[in-house]
């Protein structure tokens, strides 16, 4: 009997060590990063995207576009999906920081990590030229220091979603055109048991999408165009804060002050609220799952204030990570994806949920199929980036992600005086802008 072999045939220490060594060697060999030869054709491209609230959009990408590209080029697309609802930006930051093996992807708030992206000016300019040109506002987000860092894709439009039947019952036959009329209508509806649900919690889209346009509509601004001067503390801001406090008290459901992005969809679809600010996903879900509600749900533009009507843009763009081992391959895929042969059908698969920033789609027949979606197209005309009028830079991103303006309004709704909430917000802004 060998000295180290156990009588019961079990593994000896030596065997265990050998096994462990072989296993470790195998794992490290598998994990080793091997850069591709520059002249070698890539076997695959990893593309990262946030899952969409419109499942047809994801399905089209997965079942039509990926197989088609693979068939045409022989290159496999590895599709990394990120759950919707706020995890896309942290995941992208993590990819840039760790140089994770992802070549390209879906970009939001790219002002946070532009330095980690490749210059894609050639693609963006070519796509724009071919498809009617870009809406100008999106250039403030995609172009940085004269270079396109992302190729714009579309705006997940945010507008007012409301129950037409309840508005009619309250005698409001057309959607309020001004914020004052909006308050008046909401007061009536809340008394009738159908309050508004205007998100003011720590989400990203549904809170900024009405509070910032409201602030701008009243004449308030967070930071001036120079991107340095804090301009929040003004009479206009005070009026906007007072208005939101009253709107919350007289017209809104109590809960909305703490809502994350999915909460207003849930409240609307369960008939708890009569109006909210959201993308068109509520109507798409209602038509699919709750046909009766789908018939009485409608959309409208944000009301206007003394200084005009505004919307905030929730842009989704495409970019290529600077650390990709094969920029040419990633660019080839992105150029192919944004070609009208591919991108047009992709936009239509989601019923223009991502309103194209390309003028070629302004009169696309898809907009006529459901007239109730048209406000989401018009949003592009008055849409501004969340940093407006300041440049969309890293500091503006920090203001958004620390919810400084959202919390200013939310605190006012909990009873904190207007002067105090503005002063606290200004302190927060000074922390960021110095």
């Amino acid at each position: 009997m060998a000295r180290y072999q156990h009588a019961d045939g079990s593994t000896s220490r030596r065997d265990f060590l050998k096994l462990a060594a072989v296993g470790a060697a195998g794992v490290s060999a598998e994990a080793a990063w091997r850069p591709r030869r520059a002249d070698a054709k890539p076997a695959q491209i990893t593309f990262m995207r946030e899952s969409s609230y419109v499942k047809e959009f994801d399905e089209h990408f997965k079942n039509v576009l990926i197989p088609r590209y693979q068939q045409e080029t022989g290159i496999k697309i590895v599709y990394e999906i990120i759950a919707a609802g706020g995890s896309a930006v942290p995941r992208t930051v993590a990819i840039v920081e760790s140089k994770a093996p992802v070549d390209a992807g879906w970009m939001q708030q790219e002002w946070l990590y532009r330095e980690g992206l490749l210059d894609v000016s050639d693609i963006a300019e070519e796509v724009g030229k071919k498809q009617g040109g870009w809406y100008p506002e999106i250039k403030s987000q995609s172009v940085w220091e004269g270079k396109w860092k992302t190729v714009p894709f579309g705006n997940i439009g945010q507008a007012m979603v409301y129950r037409r039947d309840w508005f009619d019952q309250a005698g409001i036959t057309t959607f309020p055109d001004t914020w004052e009329e909006f308050l008046e209508a909401g007061t009536k509806l809340k008394k009738a048991g159908h309050p508004y649900g205007m998100s003011m919690g720590h989400g990203f889209a549904d809170n900024n999408s009405w509070l910032l346009p409201l602030l701008w509509g009243f004449g308030g601004q967070v930071v001036a165009k120079d991107g340095k001067t804090i301009t929040l503390d003004s009479n206009e801001t005070a009026k906007a804060v007072d208005y939101v406090r009253k709107l919350y008290k007289d017209a809104c459901i109590d809960d909305c002050i703490g809502w994350l992005d999915p909460a207003n969809n849930k409240a609307f679809l369960t008939s708890q609220i009569s109006c909210t600010n959201n993308a068109m996903s509520i109507l798409i879900s209602a038509k699919r799952d709750l046909p009766d509600m789908g018939k009485v749900t409608d959309h409208a533009l944000n009301p206007k204030g003394p200084k005009g009507r505004f919307h905030s843009l929730v842009s989704c763009n495409h970019g290529i990570f600077a650390h990709t081992p094969d920029p040419a391959a990633a660019k080839h895929f992105l150029r192919w994806l944004m070609d009208p042969k591919q991108v047009a059908a992709w936009y239509r698969s989601a019923q223009m949920y991502h309103a194209p920033y390309l003028h070629a789609y302004d009169k696309d027949e898809e907009w006529d199929k459901e007239p109730r979606f048209k406000p989401y197209h018009k949003v592009l005309e008055t849409g501004k980036l969340v940093s407006w009028p300041a440049p969309a830079d890293r500091r503006a991103g920090e203001v958004v992600n620390k919810w400084i303006i959202i919390d200013m309004f939310a605190k006012a709704c909990t009873g904190t005086p207007t002067k105090t909430v503005i002063a606290e917000a200004v302190t927060g802004l000074k922390q960021i802008y110095g």
Binding site: V89, G116, H202, D254, I257, G397, K402
Partner: protein
């Protein structure tokens, strides 16, 4: 092998390789073998805990926006945090959250263990079911809690309406009211952490000899007397350890608040962990985010010191 068999065995051929023999001997030494066993987990800890921690410490002393080179700023990040009211609100929230949840989990867990220590039908099944909150993934259970807290459809407000405590549709806003939102996150944390206390204290209870209880009963001790003078003193080491671990887990809690409230409304439930995440990951300020995360370490240090001192005294 017996001595006789050993003697009868034919002479072994010469050792083929002295080197192999020595290596074998060397490997068989306890000191060598134990280090060989220890090395993989140590390397694992160094790679996945030591390196990120040291990198985090380095980041906290630099200005380091995402994808940009670092600039050494000394203690500026910490000074910046010191002047940030949101950071202090998060600190205050974290202490309140940890203290309240730990007290609730300790008292509830102790009660749960005492009940589970009794003999009753379906005891095994009940114990298994009580572990469920601990087993279900936090994100999943927290999403379920979001529904439970829903003002219109949620179970809480429906129960309140059923017992005529509120009018239908007019129940409290559990996640919309700043105070109730904090109560809600404490409640969910307590629900999730209770089984950890319950099962660990139950294990401690089972080590208490019956003879001690019998002696105390003979000496005239009632239920409370036995609990006060026999059960509790013998459980103290277990309670101390489980509480220490719970303080650490609760202090660093992130998932629950991130999913349930995102730190809102108006930062009412923002904890140090969610704040550090929003600054570091969502806002792309790696240096500042690391400093905010590192600010939690002194608390952990104090807890660990208390723990090691207690263990030494025990």
């Amino acid at each position: 092998m017996s001595r006789v068999a050993e003697a009868a065995r034919p002479a072994q051929p010469a050792v083929p390789s002295v080197r192999a023999f020595r290596l074998r001997e060397w490997l068989e030494r306890e000191a060598v073998f134990s280090w060989l066993m220890l090395t993989p987990p140590l390397l694992f800890l160094l790679a996945f805990l030591g390196y990120p921690f040291c990198y985090g410490v380095y980041l906290s002393f630099v200005r380091r926006p995402v994808a940009q080179p670092a600039t050494f700023v000394g203690l500026n990040n910490f000074l910046h945090l010191y002047n940030d009211p949101i950071f202090w609100q998060a600190v205050w929230n974290t202490f309140r959250f940890t203290a309240a949840a730990t007290v609730l989990k300790l008292s509830g867990g102790l009660a749960m263990a005492l009940v589970m220590h009794q003999h009753f039908r379906f005891k095994g099944l009940t114990r298994a079911l009580l572990l469920l909150p601990f087993i279900v993934p936090t994100v999943l259970s927290t999403v379920a809690w979001q529904w439970i807290f829903d003002p219109g459809m949620g179970m809480f407000n429906r129960l309140l309406a059923f017992f005529d405590l509120v009018k239908q549709g007019q129940g409290p806003s559990w996640l919309g009211n700043p105070t109730l939102a904090m109560v809600s996150v404490i409640l969910v944390n307590t629900w999730r952490g209770l089984p950890f206390f319950g099962i660990t204290i139950l294990a401690g209870l089972q080590t208490i000899p019956d003879e001690l209880m019998e002696s105390a009963t003979i000496d005239g001790a009632g239920t409370w007397g036995r609990f006060r003078h026999v059960t509790l003193p013998l459980l103290m080491p277990v309670i101390f350890i489980v509480t220490t671990f719970s303080i650490i887990f609760t202090f660093f809690d992130f998932q629950l608040v991130y999913v349930l409230t995102g730190g809102g409304p108006a930062n009412a439930t923002h904890l140090m962990a969610t704040y550090a995440y929003s600054v570091g990951m969502s806002s792309g300020q790696m240096g500042m985010g690391s400093a905010a995360a590192l600010a939690m370490v002194p608390v952990l240090g104090v807890v660990l010191l208390a723990m090691s001192s207690y263990v030494r005294r025990s």
